[in-house]
Symmetry: C2
Subunit: 452 residues, 2 copies
């Protein structure tokens, strides 16, 4: 990896982690069949450098209680991060990735899944943010400017080689190399396609759903997602309502958030098939590769795809889902798998199998992160927008220094250096849990009751 | 569930969690290809009851750094446990299990995997311990005395019904019901078969391996396991050494601790096949169902089975491994999946597919726990010892109030009420990290350096 001496010699001077929560459960934004009361939250990392005012900011997304556990885990990795030189980290990022995610004692708590993997993702996201800032590039541009060989060097291919070899990955990158510049120009002009997810949260009233759909149409949205899985009659009624507003010229997606057993998913979706959803998302346990495969086979004659990924633990799970045809839409997440290093191996495998990548977003900060992933995926790996759109939800962007810029239902390429992950200082301080001003007030007036 | 009023009315008055570690890294007990320096540890739970001196003790096993993260997670579940009546918990244990493991906010950190699932397992293990003590029965006897219907009521079958229905499970239990008493008598007389795992840790010298094998033979052991995966030449030499001592009338198993990619596992094991191992354990990522299937297919003509499970996150992963024939030996763990409630669904599915269950043990306290699992599995679910043996390692038992009793290479049935999980008070206090006397001394004399 080409690194200037100025970058190479710097060290990580300090890692700090914060528990930051937003009280979204008060309005039931984000409610679904299994996550009934989320407070969108982030376990937030700030890295200070030894010889530069640049800071790396990154996070893992959570939904309230338990954010403190991820913060605790992040602090457990401090000993592998503080004092390490950037030359050591970025110079062989694939190796550093494995050192971090496979620490000989901490790996027992995963391995490469759940709390410890999310903690690693938060740290790695902050490292990518710092790298972008040091190179004065948004992260999508930093990655897009890598040569194919440089890009491969940040990936740990362990457990992936039976599905995609480094040579195959290199071939995909080289094929796209000569046309990267023109796609970059295109993106800078017109952005990338998005879909909106906020029309059919489980806790919304019919009027609110209708209003959200109408607003969506007025803003030019073409994709609409609704939550399903609590009551099939209720789902039927809400699907009918949404279709009555958005018509059939726009796309409708359905999201079950893991609520069904395999056969139950198949039976339920037969009853909703007349509304022609583009996909059914998370029909069953996110760990059930073969269950997803069975659902995908049953949905295929109905023209419904299976979408999953936001709870997919790591590249090994994605490998199986992709190679078995168990998903038709690959919903990578910016914080659950091990940051860009791991995501790149998944994107390359998806490209090999021509599976569209539609990153999971919404929550808080996820839109800011995943726009970078979708952009470098389009420029370097999968040069098409056929069915490749990025999730969007219109809340909590105001807390970020460089929030997403949406125009006509498309993300416009972020131009600010870094990974767009940095919170405004005031927002950060006010939302620190439980002592930030927002939480102190909610607790004092009885609107929030701490769970432990 | 039949519960006396005395049990039913009690409440969980207090949940306390402790970080307890044993400095095993000093001697390299437990070292392998990826866990190079484990300090065997437990995140330890004590439940106090409202109207009884009985305490529930339980734990999740860990390997050092990060035990504090699991303790933190256990404390996050306190609000779902304290104040809850035992009638509410044991009266519908399957429902309580789902309430705990699918808390609407904490589930985001799994779901049902890693730190949060281990935290649930520790709490549930303590609940099983309390139940046994209140009924004045060892846990294996408590479970064995359930009617088939009572036994099913503690299980959450979600995500399992495409592989095993409640009716099928009931059928298995009913088939074994009439002969339970005679198997119980047999077990009380002769115990259950074990295999020893301590002969070939990666960090041991040749002399130490040879000595351990000779001691094993003298004690009557028939099964020996060695670690492999760092250097094939080294593995070859050590396998030859072990076979030269134990001969071919005893069984040898090999354990790679997830170090290989799929094709690498197949190639490596071809080079060690001449030593006729019974199984290759954890050949690749524990998440790779299809990878294990590929290895199993390649090993079949060599007469080598695939064993896995100690890092298998939950019943959904076991479901896929078992139904695909991706494992020939099912190594359930007492602390990583969600305690007896979840293990029962896995044992029932294994029985349906005639897959032998060989629980993972060793570490600290795992032998004490899993002997119960193997015993009720034999009495109620899978009435055979063909290839069904339980792992054993001879260390750290002295810290438990009711340690395992081994005779002639067999576990003898524990008779003390509870789950055999309770540490001696002195051992607990001395090993609390980092302020117990053992750790204070090791830190003071420089033999231990805290990692954060």
């Amino acid at each position: 990896m080409n690194l200037s001496d100025e970058i190479r010699k710097q060290k990580i001077a300090k890692l700090t982690a914060y528990d930051v929560r937003f009280p979204t459960s008060l309005t039931l934004d984000g409610s679904d069949a299994v996550h009934t009361d989320p407070d969108y939250s982030i376990a937030y990392v700030v890295l200070k450098l030894s010889d530069s005012p640049v800071e790396g900011h990154g996070f893992a997304f959570t939904i309230g209680n338990g954010t403190d556990i991820v913060v605790h885990a992040i602090e457990s990795y401090r000993y592998l991060v503080e004092g390490r030189s950037l030359g050591d980290i970025y110079g062989n990022f694939g190796k550093f990735w494995r050192d971090l995610t496979n620490d000989s004692q901490l790996r027992w708590l995963g391995p490469e899944k759940g709390v410890v993997h999310m903690a690693c993702a938060a740290i790695l996201n902050a490292l990518w943010d710092a790298w972008g800032k040091l190179e004065k590039k948004p992260v999508w541009k930093l990655v897009s400017d890598f040569t194919p060989e440089q890009l491969l060097s940040v990936i740990d291919f362990r457990y992936m080689t039976d599905a995609i070899t480094q040579d195959e990955a290199l071939q995909i990158l080289r094929t796209n190399e000569s046309t990267k510049a023109q796609r970059e120009q295109e993106i800078l002009k017109t952005g990338i396609p998005a879909y909106v997810t906020s029309v059919g949260w489980m806790g919304y009233s019919d009027e609110k759903i209708k209003k959200r759909c109408e607003e969506g149409l007025a803003e030019g949205w073409k994709y609409y997602k609704m939550k399903v899985g609590v009551s099939v009659d209720d789902d039927y009624r809400r699907a009918k309502l949404i279709r009555s507003v958005i018509g059939y010229e726009n796309k409708l997606m359905m999201d079950a958030n893991q609520v069904w057993d395999v056969q139950q998913a198949i039976d339920w979706m037969h009853k909703l098939a007349e509304f022609k959803p583009l996909w059914i998302e998370e029909p069953t346990s996110p760990d059930d590769v073969l269950g997803h495969e069975a659902v995908a086979k049953a949905m295929n004659p109905l023209g419904i795809g299976v979408a999953t990924g936001e709870h997919c633990a790591n590249r090994v799970m994605f490998k199986q889902l992709i190679t078995r045809g168990a998903l038709q839409f690959c919903q990578v997440d910016g914080c659950r798998t091990g940051s860009i290093n791991e995501l790149l191996s998944i994107l390359l495998l998806a490209a090999k199998h021509k599976i569209p990548v539609c990153p999971h977003a919404g929550g808080v900060g996820l839109c800011e992160l995943v726009q970078h992933i979708s952009i470098f995926n389009y420029i370097c790996i999968a040069p098409t927008f056929e069915n490749q759109m990025t999730e969007f939800a219109n809340h909590l962007h105001e807390h970020f220094i460089a929030p997403v810029v949406m125009k006509n239902g498309r993300y416009h390429a972020p131009l600010v250096p870094g990974y767009s992950a940095e919170l405004k200082k005031d927002s950060l301080e006010a939302h620190i849990y439980p002592h930030g001003s927002v939480w102190k007030e909610l607790t004092a007036n009885g609107q929030h009751k701490p769970r432990h």
